[in-house]
């Protein structure tokens, strides 16, 4: 009975307590459902995004670079199919066996094998190892023949930059190569589109036009699993090849420049005197940019870097030279413009000029006798120009020189290494050297020595602006969007001067004419310094001015010895310069030539111009016909 009673009481306790926990259960279940609701309904979007972020990976493929073509549409920087060899570790059955097979097949070095093994340990098993970036066709065939034996090897065809004219355009185009981290970070577009293995412009136009040339990445969207392995492809978005850039340069002329310089240190620039189109711009010696594409070998690099002729320097844009006598047309023009001299003004040259106890020599020891402007220019009489410079003063000379583009960058932003050179005046010396100007310095400035430093392209621009009648042009290397006929261009040049006085570089057109005639006589009249290099056929006839720039002071002793060029050490030899434009009637092209340590301008530089003008003028018709072949917008 007691037990029964106890049993009932116990049942009551159990039931009561059961109800209490049941209530707790309901509360807890409600809590869990609330949590589910908040995750799955309220925060669904957030977690859905996170889930997609988990599972979708984008693979950017390297974009295809735009071609660079010359004026005639020849590809000068293009893309080439290259054959590569990849290993996909997870597909390899026996890695060591594969490596020994590849080693014998491709003659891989032990170092390379070591590198592959290191890469293999670093990468995920499904990430491919690039064994060779640029496999020769015969090696590619070999691999394909033995493919049955090389499990896990994948021959791949891909696209790489290629410079078909190898060294001809190196200094204009630069080259592409694998960038380092800094270089990636330096360019926003590169940063955005960079993919491992991609190459970017390191130098020249390849670098400055990077954002136009680079193209857009093709994008592959994959679903991946938690380990990053691709499961299936969701989408493929095609990339766009970079822009095709058409340059103003003419490959034939450019090639000829290289041939004429023949690996001597120097530079040749050729320019259209109305449009400012750069027809050629060659810096010598050059090197093959293709060598840099897949990483240059140490030997090749040493060869380029240690070459005393400095192939790495773009001499056209960053080589600084004293202009020597090639400055004389500007001195003459400045004197005429400032009404210091008239064409009939004469100076007696005795071979030297004394000033405050200092002697200034003319190149011709015996002297030229009484010379007028024209004769002084023709025979390049230094004494005449000493006197004219003295009368003119360096500050007025500086105004004219700067008008014609000396002391300023020519192409501006396109080449980041371009130098602006220097044309001095009294203020410059005071500010930079802290000393007053000395009259003697005016004299040597008048013959293009002293502080003056010019780039070959500046001299070319200067010549072009004398040749076109004294109008300011803007040199360019990329073809304009809206091509104009020659007449239109000329008219436009003149019209521009109505609105912008500074574009007219003269006060009296007769002065320009006088200088032009003087330059003509220098080339085409007896006793002219480049008379030997003249062309009599009016179709090719050109006018020019030689220059011989001293690289060191000539001592009295050396002057007496009057050594032949071969007897002087290379480093001490004069630079040979020549500026010219042609054809003399209806001129169209200007050029500047410099051969470093080439001796005298008339002997070394002027003959190059003779060869070149024939080619340039012969190609003029072709060039005119080519005008409207396509539009490229940059």
């Amino acid at each position: 009975m007691i037990k029964g009673n106890s049993g009932i009481r116990k049942t009551d306790v159990i039931n009561r307590r059961m109800f209490i926990i049941s209530a707790a259960k309901i509360i807890i279940f409600t809590g869990i459902i609330a949590r589910l609701f908040s995750l799955q309904v309220n925060e669904n979007k957030k977690y859905l995004t996170l889930s997609d972020k988990n599972r979708i990976r984008e693979w950017k493929l390297p974009p295809i670079r735009g071609d660079i073509v010359d004026y005639f549409g020849n590809i000068i920087a293009g893309n080439l199919k290259v054959y590569q060899l990849h290993i996909i570790p997870e597909q390899v059955e026996n890695f060591n066996y594969l490596l020994t097979r590849l080693k014998t097949l491709l003659n891989l070095s032990d170092k390379k094998i070591e590198k592959i093994v290191k890469l293999k340990n670093k990468l995920k098993p499904w990430e491919s190892i690039i064994v060779s970036e640029n496999l020769s066709w015969s090696d590619f065939l070999k691999i394909n023949n033995y493919l049955y034996d090389l499990v896990g090897v994948k021959p791949v065809m891909t696209i790489s930059r290629n410079y078909p004219f190898s060294e001809v355009y190196t200094h204009i185009l630069g080259y592409v190569s694998q960038p380092n981290e800094e270089e990636i970070l330096a360019n926003e577009v590169v940063q955005e589109r960079f993919v491992p293995g991609m190459k970017i412009g390191k130098l020249g136009l390849e670098k400055t036009l990077e954002k136009h040339l680079i193209g857009t990445n093709a994008i592959q969207r994959y679903e991946v699993n938690a380990y990053g392995k691709r499961i299936n492809q969701l989408e493929h978005q095609k990339g766009k090849q970079g822009l095709r850039v058409r340059l103003t340069v003419d490959t034939e002329v450019q090639k000829a420049c290289g041939k004429l310089l023949n690996d001597r240190a120097g530079s040749i620039s050729v320019m259209d005197i109305y449009t400012g189109d750069i027809i050629a711009m060659y810096s010598s010696p050059s090197y093959d940019p293709n060598k840099f594409l897949f990483g240059i070998s140490n030997d090749d690099w040493a060869l380029i870097r240690n070459n005393p002729l400095k192939p790495l320097v773009n001499k056209t844009l960053s080589g600084l030279y004293s202009p020597g006598s090639t400055i004389k047309p500007i001195v003459a023009l400045s004197a005429l413009e400032n009404k210091i001299v008239s064409p009939s003004f004469k100076v007696k040259c005795t071979g030297k000029m004394e000033l405050y106890g200092q002697t200034f020599h003319c190149w011709k020891e015996k002297g030229h006798g009484f010379v007028s402007l024209k004769n002084a220019m023709k025979q390049s009489c230094d004494t005449y120009f000493y006197e004219v410079a003295r009368l003119l003063g360096v500050d007025r000379l500086n105004v004219t020189a700067e008008k014609f583009g000396l002391g300023k960058k020519v192409l501006g932003d396109y080449f980041d290494f371009e130098k602006s050179g220097l044309f001095p005046d009294t203020k410059w010396k005071k500010n930079n050297l802290g000393k007053g100007w000395v009259l003697g310095e005016t004299l040597i400035t008048g013959i293009g020595q002293g502080y003056t430093q010019t780039t070959p392209l500046q001299l070319c621009l200067m010549t072009a602006q004398i040749a076109n009648g004294g109008y300011s042009i803007k040199p360019r290397i990329i073809v304009d969007n809206n091509p104009m006929s020659l007449e239109e261009t000329k008219r436009k040049l003149k019209e521009e001067t109505l609105h912008a006085q500074e574009k007219k570089l003269f006060n009296d057109p007769r002065n320009i004419k006088i200088v032009q005639e003087a330059m003509f006589s220098s080339t085409n009249e007896l006793y002219g310094t480049s008379y030997k290099s003249r062309i009599d056929d009016p179709k090719y006839q050109f006018a020019g001015k030689t220059g011989t720039a001293q690289v060191k002071r000539i001592s009295m002793r050396e002057r007496e010895l009057d050594l032949k060029i071969e007897q002087i050490p290379y480093k001490d030899r004069d630079h040979a310069l020549y500026i010219a434009y042609g054809p003399y009637i209806n001129p169209r092209y200007a050029l500047s030539i410099i051969v470093e340590h080439g001796g005298s301008g008339s002997r070394t530089a002027a003959p190059i111009a003779k060869e070149l003008f024939k080619l340039i003028i012969d190609r003029n018709d072709l060039r005119n016909k080519q005008k409207n072949f396509e539009e490229i917008k940059i």
């Binding site: 037990k3 049942t11 306790v13 279940f29 459902i33 988990n54």
Partner: protein, 374 residues
């Protein structure tokens, strides 16, 4: 007495069949079928190892449940202590000869599957304590001897399971035991006292935890602390559940699971997969199915004439509830990660065996609900 025995003896086989709780039976059956589909999904939409293995376990354990139901509840009452000691022996056995896997020794090889005795202990402890409180006089429930006895009964398996080490299961064993104590009438003040003692000793206990267990607690408090390491599981689980949305991504379309972002998707995180594919609606439906099972068990307990049946049913219903709550709270980021399977749904033979045995005894209690046990 005689009357009661006679009543019992009167039940024929067909009567037993008739007396089975079909709502419970169908619910468990549905859950089993559902678990097969979910397992099929974890195998990536193919009938692979987990699906086959899970299927074979259902094929064996579901009939086993009905088989157990056909034994009189009295029989189970008599076997309760023996069952408890048998499981204790198994625990001792595995602690010496068990299969070691990922740092803990919990399993014994039974050829068909690896038995985890600690899972069986979840049922054994309820049985054992139900019998104890059935037999003890209500006046003696709060006596020192009685309290000491039940605490010992609970502590022995807990210590053994913790030392395997297996924190999750030992917590579930403790919870199952404590609930029977509660139902049996142990005074509230003892629960309060022990809770206070627990809180005070907590820092002490934490110092005894294994580094990875401490890490789990820290990770629970701040999952973003180490998103690719310790926090990875819970973050990925929340992403999976959250991205499921209202109606889910669809059967076999749970990207988190088939792309392997989900850890332990067969076992502890099975709900995550389910929830990702079937969404909020599916999850609530699953909870309703579980609730029906729990309510049915509670009802069987309520109509049982013997306190043993009543204690067991209530205790077991609560245990099921606790399993679900602990598992769900874990995958929802409400509790630290402790290994605890979801009944029937999770892959794992021992857990299913224990649950099916429990259901079997509940069904037996239903068939014999009029039975009075002396």
């Amino acid at each position: 007495m005689f009357q009661h025995d006679r009543l019992n003896n009167e039940l024929t086989f067909w009567q037993k069949i008739k007396e089975l709780d079909y709502i419970l039976l169908i619910s468990v059956f549905l859950l089993s079928i559902l678990s097969l589909f979910v397992m099929y999904s974890t195998d990536g939409g193919e009938i692979l190892f987990h699906t086959k293995s899970h299927f074979s376990k259902i094929i064996i354990f579901f009939p086993l449940m009905i088989f157990i139901a056909f034994f009189n509840i009295k029989w189970w009452h008599n076997l309760s202590y023996l069952f408890y000691f048998a499981v204790i022996l198994l625990l001792i056995y595995v602690s010496f000869f068990g299969i070691k896997s990922s740092g803990s020794r919990r399993w014994m090889d039974l050829y068909l599957f690896n038995l985890q005795p600690s899972e069986l202990m979840k049922i054994a402890i309820i049985l054992c304590l139900a019998k104890y409180y059935h037999r003890i006089k209500i006046e003696n429930v709060n006596s020192i001897t009685s309290i000491m006895t039940v605490v010992t009964i609970i502590l022995i398996p807990i210590i053994m399971v913790i030392s395997q080490p297996d924190l999750g299961t030992s917590i579930l064993i403790a919870a199952s035991g404590l609930i029977v104590l509660w139902l049996g009438g142990v005074k509230i003040k003892y629960f309060i006292y022990s809770f206070i003692v627990f809180l005070i000793s907590l820092p002490f206990v934490i110092s005894f935890l294994k580094p990875y267990q401490k890490l789990r607690i820290l990770t629970f408090l701040d999952p973003d602390r180490d998103p690719l390491g310790a926090g990875y599981q819970i973050i990925q689980s929340k992403i999976a559940i959250g991205s499921g949305g209202l109606d889910g991504k669809g059967f076999l379309k749970g990207t988190q699971s088939y792309l392997d972002f989900l850890p332990e998707k067969h076992t502890d995180f099975i709900f995550t997969l389910f929830s990702e594919e079937f969404g909020f609606i599916g999850s609530v439906a699953l909870l309703i199915l579980y609730s029906i099972i729990i309510i049915r068990i509670l009802r069987i307990g309520a109509i049982s004439r013997s306190n043993f049946s009543r204690l067991f049913c209530f205790g077991f219903a609560f245990a099921i509830f606790i399993y679900i709550v602990v598992n769900l709270s874990m995958v929802l980021g409400l509790l630290p990660i402790v290994g605890s399977p979801l009944p029937i749904l999770s892959y794992g033979g021992s857990s299913m065996l224990a649950t099916m045995i429990g259901f079997g005894i509940v069904l037996s209690a239903k068939i014999n609900h009029k039975q009075i046990i002396a």
